[in-house]
Point group: C2
Chain length 317, copies 2
């Protein structure tokens, strides 16, 4: 593992317990919302919700912004007396295992077809008497018209993040993301990937702190990964044809989320807050039958981007 470049500026303090993680992601939510508001010129609404079983969250949502047709940055902090069955089984824990879960998740759907959509999520779980814990997360980019320079920059930023942390394995997390966000019935990815990881629980005495440091840096690094791409492309002019292709690609996004996304399906099946779960869906979506783009068009040129590819080694073409 090579050593990634440090982020510019002083590092954030690393949480030492779960309350610290909650403070860290709340601060991250505030910063990211400010950045997105500054880019857009509009404001994110604030919706606090409570979970009947314990805990709740804060959803920050922008609808019909100048730049973001829809955007949401959510934080949740949830406690319960009984870990949901699916996780319990995967972790081989008994019924009635208490749990704690907190996370930050965001989805941005820009209006301009040349500005990519973005999704990221970082989460932390504890089960039982705090003796079982794990981290998960990821970030991925979904352009309608991928621009190679931007796709490379996005992946380079995430590779840099991973290489700053011995607990993060970039090639593995990148491949995991490519696989997770595959729309299997289309034989293509939802977008151009990024990183994805789950069940991260480094062994040894410093394991918890190392994972918490990775999560903290991960949340902060989102600022480097996505907003610069938005600023760079938000004034690009776009045509009806490009808008139409964007809406078609958003159809693939909706297909992925409703058919495959584990969080979405798990949430809907267990009676979670439907509106919060489905906030990730794009604001406007188009489906057309047999709409494969003609060879030689700008739309046909996008398709190879939606297959797994190494974006951070030397130029491929």
């Amino acid at each position: 593992m090579t050593e990634g470049l440090p982020r510019v500026g002083p590092p954030d303090p690393v949480p030492t317990d779960r309350d610290g993680i909650v403070r860290m992601i709340r601060a991250g939510q505030e910063r990211l919302v400010s950045i997105f508001e500054e880019i857009d010129g509009g404001t994110f609404g604030r919706h606090a919700w409570e979970r009947p079983g314990g805990g709740g969250g804060t959803a920050r949502v922008m609808t019909d912004g100048r730049v973001f047709e829809r955007g949401g940055v959510n934080v949740s902090v949830v406690e319960g007396e009984d870990l949901p069955a699916e996780i319990r089984r995967a972790k081989e824990l008994p019924e009635g295992t208490p749990f704690f879960a907190t996370g930050i998740s965001m989805v941005l759907h820009p209006r301009n077809p040349h500005v990519p959509a973005f999704h990221a999520n970082f989460r932390y779980f504890e089960a039982g008497d705090r003796d079982v814990w794990w981290f998960g997360g990821g970030a991925d980019l979904t352009p309608a018209y991928p621009i190679e320079e931007d796709v490379r920059a996005f992946h380079e930023t995430l590779r840099g993040l991973c290489e700053r942390h011995a607990v993060a394995d970039h090639p593995r997390f990148k491949a995991w993301c490519d696989d997770y966000f595959t729309v299997r019935h289309r034989g293509e990815m939802r977008g151009v990937g990024g990183i994805f990881f789950d069940d991260l629980r480094p062994e040894g005495e410093g394991g918890w702190g190392a994972a918490a440091a990775f999560m903290t840096d991960g949340v902060r690094t989102l600022e480097d990964a996505y907003p610069p791409l938005v600023r760079k492309r938000l004034d690009m002019p776009w045509s009806d044809r490009e808008r139409s292709w964007q809406l078609l690609r958003r159809g693939r996004y909706a297909e992925f989320n409703l058919v495959y996304d584990r969080g979405t399906r798990f949430g809907l099946e267990t009676g979670g807050d439907t509106e919060a779960i489905l906030m990730s869906l794009p604001p406007l979506v188009r489906w057309e039958t047999r709409a494969d783009p003609a060879p030689g068009t700008a739309e046909a040129a996008t398709l190879p981007f939606f297959q797994p590819r190494d974006w951070t080694s030397d130029p491929i073409r």
Copy 2:
């Protein structure tokens, strides 16, 4: 069981074998496409497809019509050496059971928010040495702005169909439809229901013929159930606000099809023709977070229609 009113005009000949069923649904496809073309003024394209394992179908699709923003009427005739595992298990049949399946299915998504969307499907299966067979089908209506008179007329027509056939149990098929088309995470139906049935295999010597007669009458009765509602409402003026509500309701439609519909999920999981499977999705869809209509609005007034209700007894209000 009371006796339903006969359809006007001579009854269609009842198929005596599976080839007869194929002829009957092909004729139904031609008639229905002609009716929809006459209403719309446009034409349905024709796309024939073949299935690698045996058989194929004919998809008739209209895109961007004057009345139908998208419409499709499809016939498939499929044979194979190995019944798909899910059906095999449900029917307790051994691996390597050959099968035959044929059906007609249609989805119409009108542009005008005052014209309801429509879905119907009739299908026939054989497994093994033709000794195992069953019929399935149904029809359901999805208005964005339900009009009580039209909803009642639709259900009356389907009740009439069922009451003309001893093998069809309208109260049961109506309740089955209400249940099947429920968007569970929303606590509401996709539309206003209709009828749904599966595994129909009447006992006794005349069982096959009785079921085939019901299917034949069912395909023909679609002409009475839906086109009159389209003709009646297609010239109603509509506003941006009504269009916007229609697109939101279509989002629920897409949620149902991608999250719950057994045919869709089964088709995607077993590698069916994705474009044919997803042809049922609406052409344009909108999602908005926490978009519950304000009390007293026309949109709020639609919501009780999406709960199960008896539409064919005396007036409820």
